[in-house]
Every structure is written in C-alpha cells, then in structure tokens.
Symmetry: D2
Subunit: 383 residues, 4 copies
C-alpha cells in the first residue's frame, strides 16, 4: 500500500534512507527449516556494494548484514526475519545546494511534492541505497528457490549502444562475475568498460540494460489475471530504480513478429508431458509459467547525478542556478543493478511458489536444528 | 492475491469466462457523488467490442452493461458498483480439438497445469474477453479523473514494422478514433490496415504496439518504492493480454542515452513552481509523478489463434497432431487493445489519486441527486 | 480495504443495496475440482431468507442464486465464481420520513456522514440484506471444508434473558433447525419464541446471541500474530450486522478463572500426538488451532427498526420529530443470523486452510467433469 | 497475510522473539511533519515493560527504543520509521523441559504444529514480548491522533471477580496510572492488588479485563462492511495475547436489552448537527463512527505459565510428565496489557483516519525542521 512492502505470502518490508543510521528489512513468510546464516546473504550484498570497482561510486560501505530474528540453531523458524545493515560512510554536505533546488531528473522535487518535505542527504529514501534491503531479502528467496530446483541469474547485456551477443544461461553463470561490468561476454565487457570510463572521465553517465533468466520454474505459477506472472514481474522490475522498460520473451520486438512465427508448437517431453518446441513466449503463457525458462530484459537509464553543470530552480530563493552534483556517484547502473534485478526476480518467484503451494518442505533442508526432533506435529505421518 | 482484483483503494474485482453466461465486475471505492449511468460506460465498451470492423473477430456481442448497485438517482453513493455484461454469441464447438491438446502459445496448457482443469470454451477465463470488465471499470475511473482535470488517451503507433511518426496529444484525441486501426496518423493507419488485411487473408496474424499518454496528472502520485507509479503501471500494463513489453518516457531507448542528454533541467512555471524544461523522464521521477504528461508504450504480440496448421500434443491420446484454430479471431490486437490500455491507465491513476487524498469531492459533481440536500454531515462546515 | 472484500486467498467481494436491483458476490480463490451447483447454495439462503416464519420480516424474497461463472460441467474450475441474487420485493416508500432524519441507532446518519449521501431505501448498503451474499459465499466455503473433514454449525443460545443450557455439537446438528428460533434446546426454544412474540406484539424488539462450533479443524491454522485465528474470527464475527460482542472458549468468563483452572493439561491421543485433556481454550492456542473443536459466541443487539415512536432530528428542516419505523422488520436477529455466523466462520476457516496449504485436492472430489481426463499436467505423477 | 503486519495505510510490520537479539518494527504510512523522537515512544514502553512492579515478571529489560529511519531534524518525513529494541535479559535454560513437551494452554504445541519447529526460548515468537513492538508503533499513532483532537485511554476494570464501578474518562486519565494494577478506581485497585498477590503467592495466576475509550473520534470512520470499525477493532483486540472476548458499547449485555431501550434518540448539537442523546451504541453505528466516544472491553485470560505442577506430553519420549514453569512470569496480564490495548486502539483509529482522508496535515505540526522552508511543492497555494 505504502510502497515499503513487496510480496503477498513471501513479504519483505523495508526502511532506511541513504544517509540515515541504518537500512533494514523484515522478511515475513519464509518457510521454516531453511538453513540460513548471514554469510548466505553477504555474498549478494558484496556484489551490490559501492566501491567494489573503478566504475562504481567510491562511497565506502561494508554493508554487513545482521540477522536479528527468525533463525534458530542455523535454521529458519517460519517467523519474521529481521535484518539490519548499518550506514557508515555518509557525507551529506555535498547535497546542501539541492535542499530547495532539485537535481535534474532525480526524485528531489517529486518526494518534496508528495510529502511536503524530504530527507535530502544522499537522496534520502529515494536513493538506490534502499536496494541493499532488496538484495538481502532476495538472497533468502534465492536460497529457497535453489532448494526447489530453481536457479536464476542476470548479466549486463547492453551499455550505451554496445550490445552483447546472445549468451547461454551457462555462459552467464560462468562469466558474468568475471569482470566489473558484469557482462557474460568478455569481449563486449571490455568494450563496455572502456565506454563507461570515457563517460566517467568527461563527467557524464550512460544507460544500459540487464538480461535475466530463471531455469527450473515449474508450470503453473502466476495468478490470472491482474496478478499474472508477467504483471507481477512487471511491477517488481519497474520498481528497480532508474528502470524505464521491462520486457519478457521477445519483448518489444514481438510487435514485428507474425503469429505463425512467434507461436511455439507443442511436442512431448521425455515423460510424455506437452512441452513447447521453442521458447519465443519467454516461459509465460496466459500469465502462467509454462515450465520453460523465463527470460527478459530491464532497461536502466543513465545515472542522473553527474558532475556537469545543470540548471535547477531554487524554490526558496525563486532563482535559477547552475549546479554540479559533486557527491560520489556511479557512472552507470547495470553492473551494480545485476544483483538487484536477480533479487526482484527471486522475490517474485518465491512468492508465487508459496502462493501455489509448490514449496516442498522436505527439500528445504533435511538437517534439523540442535533441538528439533523427528516429530513434527503437522506432519501427516504423525496424524 | 488471486489475480481477480486490481487496485487498492479504487478496486475492481472481476468474474467471467469467454463462453460463460456473463462477465461481471464490482468496482469498490468509487467516491460518492459522481454522476454515472450505463451510457457513460457503454461508449468504451463499444470501442472494445468484437465485430466492430473487418479487422476484428466477427463474434457478435452487444456488450451491453447493466449496473446493479452503487448508483442512486444518477449519482454514485460510495458503495460498490456491481456490473454485469451478458455473453450471447458463444460457439464452443470449434474448441473441442483443443480440450486435451493445447493451442500453441495460448494459455490452454498453463491454465490446465495450474488448476488441473480449465474452462476450454473460447479460452475460458484466459480469454481476452475478460477485458470487457476492465474497460467497464476503467470508464468509471476515467470519468472520475476527468472531473479532476486528468485526461488520457491511447492510440496504435506500430503494427508489424510500420511505425507511426510522433503525434501530439491533441492529434491523438482528434484522429485516433477515425479509422479502424485506431492510429492517430491517418496515412500510417491506412498502411497498417492494408498490412493487417494481408496477414488476415493468409491466415496469419501480426503484432503491434500502443502509445498512451495522460495529461493533467498532479505532482506527488506514487508510493515509493515497490508501489511507485512506474511499478504499478508496469503491473497494470503487463496484465493486458498478449503484452510482452512496457516502457515509459524514453523507455527501451534510454539505455543508449547519456545522463546529460536525458536529464531535464528545471525552470519555473508561471506560478513560480519548479517545472522540468523537457519531459524525457516521462512524467515520473523517483517513482512519483512530476506534473508533466505521463507517456509510454505497450507491445502486444500477434494473436496466437490463427487458422494455420500448427503442431500440438494431445495429452489424452499421447499423440502429436496438426490443427488449425477455426474460431472467430482478431488478426491483430492493438486496435481493440486501445480502450483496454486506457482503462488500465485510468484504474492505476484513479487508485493513486485516492491513495494520495487528491480527489476533490467538490469537483466530482455539484448537482445533487433528487433526495440529497445541501446538508452533508461530513462537511466540515456543518461540524 | 473498502470493506467489500473478505479473506485473503479465499476471497469474497460483494455488492448490492437492500432496495437495489440485485445483490451479488464474487468468490475468488475457490480451488478447482469441487462439485458445485446452485442447489448447494440455495439451502443456506433459504435458512436466511425473509418471510420464513412469523418471527421474521414479511418481506417476500425467493433469494434464488444464479451462478454466472467459475463452474464447468458441475465442477469448479479455480476461476472466480460470480453469483447474482435479485431483489424483488422492495418497497422504499416507508423510508421517506428518514431520508434526512436518521433512524435511531441505525447506520442512516453514519453512512451519510461518511459518504455525504446514502442509498436510503431499506437502509441501502447498510441493510443486513447484504448478508445474503455472505451466506452464498459461505455455502461454498462450507462445502470445501466438508470435503476436508471440517463440520461447523451454530444455534441460538440466548434471547433476552432466556438462556439455553449447554448442548452438544450433535444436538445442535439435530435440533437447531427444528424450530423457528433455531435454538437446539427445544424447551428453551419454545420459551424464546413466546418472548419474541411478546416483544413483536408490543412493537419492540429484543437482543440475543448465537453459539458456534467447528469440529475437525486441523492443527496449525492461524498466522501469528495480527492474523491469528482468533483475530480473524474477531473481525469476521464483529462484521456481522448488530454484533456487539465476540468471544471464544471461556470468553468473557475467562476473566474470573485462575491459570490452574483454565489451563488444559496434555495427554496423548490414540496416535501418540499430544492432545489437550480439556478444551477450555476453545480450540485456539497462541492464535493457532490446536485440533480441538473451536467454539464461541456472538451477541447481537436488538433490531433498531421498531414501530414505536422515537425521536429523530431532521437535518434539512432543523426540526426534531417523532417517527415510527413502519417497514417490515425482524423482531429479533439471531434466528436468521445463524446461517450468517456459520458463513463467516466457514469463510475464515476456508481462507486459513488455503493459506496453510492444508486443502487436499484429492478429497475435493474424485469425479471428473465431462471433458476432464486423468491427465492433469500439474499432477506430480505426470511430471 | 502472515500475521506480522497490521493496518492498511498506517502499517506496522514486526519481528522478534522473546529471547532473540532484538525486537523491531517498521511503521509505514506515518504522515510527514509529525514531531517525533524516541522520548515520545519511551513513555509507553516503560508502562509496558517487565519488572515495573511486584505484580509483573521480574525480567529486567530497559526496552530502550532506537529509531533508525523516517525522522529528520526531529520531524517525520513520510518514509518508513524503523525501530529496534534490544533484548538483554533472556534466560532460556528454564524452558528446556518444554522443548518437546508443550506447556499447557500456551502456543508451544500449536507453533510447532504450524511450522514443524519453533523458537522455544521464552516462548519465542509466541511470547507477549512481541507487544513491545505494538506499543512502540502505537505511541506514534497516539501522537498523530492527539494532533487531530483524538484522545484515548484504557484501564483495568476487572481482576478475577473484583469489578471496578463505572468511572468517567477523566477519572481514567487521572487515576489509572496511580497504582500498579492500572485501575482508575483506587479502592478497587487496592483490592485487586491484594487478590493478585494472593494468587502469585500460591503459584497461580488470574484473569481480568481492560476497559478502553476514545474521545474526539470524528464521524465517518469505518469502511462498511467487512472492514467496519467494529470488525477492525475486533481483529485488533482479539490479536492481543490471551484475549478471549471483545465487546463494544453494551457488549455482551446487549443480548438482554430491547430495541426501545438500547436505541439512542437523536437531538441537535450546538451546531445543528444530529447527535445521539445517549451512547448505548458505543460510538459505532452501522460499523461507522458516530462522533460519540468509542468504548469497549477486552477480556484477558490468566497467564498460562505458572509455577504449579501440570501434566504435559513429551512427543520425543512419548511419555507424560509433570512440570512446573519456572521462568519469570506475570501473575496477571491486564496491568501491563493496558498500554497494549491502547496501542491497538490507536493503530486502528490512525489507519481509519488515513483511509478516510481525515488527517489534517496542518495540525500535525507547524514547526518546520531546520532545512524545511515555507515552500512545499504540494501545497495547493503554490500550485
């Protein structure tokens, strides 16, 4: 309702501003019995964190997550998982010119318009720092999905006009984390890196896009019609800061295809179940998963905070002025956006797995906690 | 939760299958005091209805809406508005070959996978016939928005590879309903018409896209972060049947723009409020409306039901077979999709207007119903 | 959000006013495969309908339900079930004195205060006629629960100061429908009947209460903490028109019990599962079902519409006046409230059964529809 | 959905277990511009905290709240308020006998049944320690309500069979915090204290009840029908741990009243608005607030954890055993429950104030933060 909660059965609720004391989130609805520790989450946080390379902001944050509840003896208990991540390296001073004079195309004006005030340090609540919460929650969702045979991954497939060729899921798994750009095609990654550095040098920034894919998604996920899998993915991905386009399957290109060409004929799989011969439909038919890989793309516009002189209008003084945004900013978003997109994909799928009753608790983990016993009163065998 | 309800304060809940007895929806949360009759709704239903031109399905449906509740003496009462639209011209026979052998790229297999059964006549619940409910509810949302100074309109801007040049909002208002394609650029519309007829003739279908725009949207709509205006529009539009891409502002193209080029500098409007000089941001900044027009695009793939032979796999007999879909189907979706996209845009904006407390009840209507009096107990003047 | 929808996974959304054209509801989330026809619903509607005895309003309504969607070949399909019940015997004339002068203790003033207007005929949306929708939806919930081994029933246990002695669940099943009062203790029922007729004769009305019980509820239903089973039942029952108190287990009396007396010691059941020796806790511990019968009570105040002269204040004329409510009204509510309370209990339990993933689809029904086949793509055996 | 979130526009989401590292909650939807610091919240936490008197548990917790976000320069910003309260004095050892042998009438068995495991230290998530979160969030709600002219208070009106006479709202404000029992009638409080000490001495516990009242609630709050004010209060109050009954207005007693006696005639108030002469209806008519004080009662059963020998059934060993609960426990709940009931009342009313658009932002506070200016872009005067 208020934009701080995502999901229906697997729910994450977040708080925090860029320069506040801490970020935090509560994951509600995580099934009991999942082995979970902070180290399961830290890996994705490290992939998202600032200062990880020359093409990210130099803000220094360890982004160390602390789990406050919901885990006992190393296993989730089914009760809410509270997590807190402290903010350490906040320097608000450079934002003072923009308190009453909004940065171009940022949320400064609109947040002030909505609330009549705003936390202005580092962009406050509108900052992409918020996504540290999403990645923390998403790491738990990913772990659940992995136990159920669902694997997902994203990589950067375009920066400016440099587009990576199509790569397989295996190549994404293998190569996307090998370079700072997080592009699974090494040659293209090198070109992208160069392009980004050029823009960075001249005080500008550049847009790009992220390709995502999920494998092992069972058939039947998605609630027709307003909560179809495509609709919920649309919400999830369009919530990612700076996103201006979401596509799945053939995406935007589908407008140029005929029915005959796009339609995927049916054959039988090895077990005699109908299965589409191709996957032009992107793993979703009628808003429901078909069992084929789900894939799509998200476009992120160029970072708006750039150290170039731009015109703003100061509502306190009534004067126009030229200002540069001097803080520490990313010259491009997709490299750090990859774990964010993965997180939103994982949160969406985990939610639908729960809604569809498709989580197999026996696969969550078979190693009970120290004090657990074989007896589970809810186990049908015991009833 | 179940996909049959959209919106939070302005909510629509729907029922109905393509070949069932009736479609229907309940609009909950409509403010009291709006003048409303069936004729306010029928216009949009007629724009969506089948059989309206040579390039739509020939199924004959009057799509006459009947309001069952929520209106008294011609004005809404604030209580739910129940609406029913009867199905008349259903011919299920032609779907029998597909009961256990799914049509390619339709929802036949996935609905069966999700529910273990499905209503197969005409696609049942997966049919785009459902959107008759959305258009009915959307017409009410549009009327509310109009009283608040918000106007919105869509038109078809691409069919296959034929793309319309950019047109102004005024041109869309003026020309989009002049031709069967609903393209606001008459010359392009004629080309599109020809292309569609070509595909129709050879038993194939073709994709396309719809451009939408809303003017007069106040600043401050949108709940950061998961329920941002862009996220909720993403959900709304991706729920439209056959949609494979959603974009706003520069959309997919933003990936190729630099920050300097895309950023919109600020100036003052005539009343001294900061206002962006350009609108490359598409009316949404930080997930919240900026006061500029909101615009974007939706891509709809080609209709999947085509009278060409395609391979399917019969799960009852275990045999592959070639089948043509013989029913009455559209060769292209955007022309009838225009009122659907408008409806989803209107439903989203009306919901945010309510959530933001931005509906001015005095503007809803100043003509009281027969038995209303000047005295409203909730009127602060009377307290 | 707007008060017209109940439930989360098993959701019912309603519309309709007392003197409008029709009442209606949409049940969303009903599992596929339940055998269902209008006759399954009509029975409960007949128990609730007006004019069924001398101690109910004489308004004549057949309350015949028509299912518009969601059922195919006699079985639910998992898609929303739309239902419509026509209003036939509405006579609004007698309400004209109250258009601008509210009836005492009715919703006339508060609805007008909230909405600035109201549907005044027969109480409009505030009328208990709305509960016809609840009973229709509840009948479906009951049928689901029955397939899962859950049975529930209510009866009238107090009218005025006449209180029925405790009766067993079996007695409630056997006797509660044998008399017009719906009290399972025949002797007490006769006394109640007499008391009601006395009040009816003198133009007054009287309060009473309903006892409810559910047997066969599995352990583990209820989402701690705000959505505990007791909290959700509290909402469900307090929504019943005229309800002023909700209790479960020892209820109000628990304030006088010691911990030692109220605590229920544990023993083992025949299968070796811990089970409470007594059930002073009312089937709910820590907000979650314990496996014991769930029981409680609901108090309904006397009907407010009585043909006695009462003072009202006309906000149009600014004058006080004495008025009698002349319409056709019930002298007491619990006899017709019994199926309403059962419906709310059933809706709550069905929702929790779905939320807990405790619905066994194989038990819903094993007789497939005409066109169904043994092959269900979602069946694990087929995967 | 999962029981960890309460409210729709004013939402609180909680985490934490009795013996975990910390409790915490996120308040989402709090309007911007409310002056707020930790000291506004600490007062209510101190009223709830353990060890405050001889008749509460001796567990030692400072319950110091730390606000992590949502406040800038002493004023709320409209973004979520994250709060954390550390657990310090947890001693789990005494719970070891109950890991696989549930305490009578506690949530031990049902939590294990629901989740297949549970956090057993101090009752884990089922512990009333959770209500520290509710009180923290409720304190913010109270502060909002106070700015809008709404005041609310509760006191203990019955312990065992000792019942306090009716007291006025002013007396509750004046006297309820003067004694450890929190009963506004000093003589009765002394008797209650004695009774509690008697039970405490003999190792038993006793039930009781809390009366609550809210004054200054405007007309028109409550969403008919499932979300009526009475229904939502029912949910809110029945969620309070150990609650077995909720009543408003005449409550349970209404079953014995006639319509004529209970109905409240109308007169005009000094401004010419209809107003009920009496308030037997408890401030709610047709589920919507009438403008009269809202009052009611909540019954809390005796604490289940008592140092008396009770029988339990160990599901691991399969043996029955006698155990005493040795931890530090309250002999009675209402004295510490008073701020909890107030919190739930405040959360419910604040939510409805937001839903009804009845929060007047100008009354929230007129002292801007350090960097705020008179210019608020959303201010109609500036548009």
């Amino acid at each position: 309702m208020n934009g701080n909660t995502f999901g229906r059965l697997f729910q994450v609720t977040t708080f925090g501003e860029s320069h506040g004391e801490a970020m935090g989130c509560t994951v509600s609805g995580c099934p009991a019995g999942l082995e979970l520790s902070e180290s399961d989450i830290q890996g994705d946080l490290d992939r998202r964190k600032p200062g990880q390379s020359m093409i990210t902001t130099s803000r220094g944050e360890a982004d160390a997550v602390s789990i406050k509840s919901g885990v006992q003896d190393g296993y989730t208990t089914g009760t809410p998982i509270g997590m807190v991540i402290k903010n350490k390296d906040a320097r608000s001073g450079k934002y003072e010119p923009f308190i009453t004079a909004p940065r171009p195309s940022h949320g400064d004006f609109t947040y002030s318009a909505k609330f009549g005030t705003r936390n202005w340090g580092g962009g406050g609540r509108s900052s992409a720092r918020e996504t540290v919460n999403w990645v923390a929650a998403g790491a738990i969702a990913k772990k659940i999905l992995a136990t159920q045979g669902i694997e997902l991954k994203a990589h950067v497939n375009q920066i400016g006009s440099i587009e990576a060729p199509d790569v397989s899921f295996e190549e994404i798994l293998e190569h996307s984390e090998e370079n700072d750009v997080r592009c699974a095609h090494p040659e293209t990654a090198a070109e992208m890196q160069e392009l980004i550095e050029d823009y960075q040098e001249e005080g500008d920034s550049i847009g790009g896009s992220i390709y995502f894919e999920a494998q092992g998604v069972p058939t039947g996920l998605g609630a027709p019609r307003f909560d179809s899998l495509s609709a919920r993915l649309g919400q999830a991905m369009m919530a990612v800061p700076a996103t201006t386009a979401f596509e799945f399957g053939l995406g935007r290109e589908a407008r140029e295809w005929t029915g005959k060409d796009r339609n995927d004929d049916w054959e039988f799989d090895s077990e005699g179940t109908p299965t589409p011969i191709e996957n032009d439909h992107g793993g979703i038919q009628g808003g429901i998963s078909s069992g084929e890989p789900i894939y799509g793309e998200v476009t992120l516009h160029a970072p708006t905070s750039i150290p170039k002189s731009q015109q703003t209008a100061d509502w306190e003084t009534g004067e126009l002025k030229e200002e540069k945004v001097i803080g520490r900013h990313d010259p491009v978003l997709p490299p750090r956006g990859v774990p964010v997109v993965e997180a939103m994909l994982a949160l969406t799928l985990a939610d639908f797995m729960l809604l569809s009753g498709r989580i197999n608790p026996d696969r969550l983990d078979d190693q009970p906690g120290e004090y657990d016993t074989d007896y589970h009163p809810s186990n049908p065998e015991n009833e």
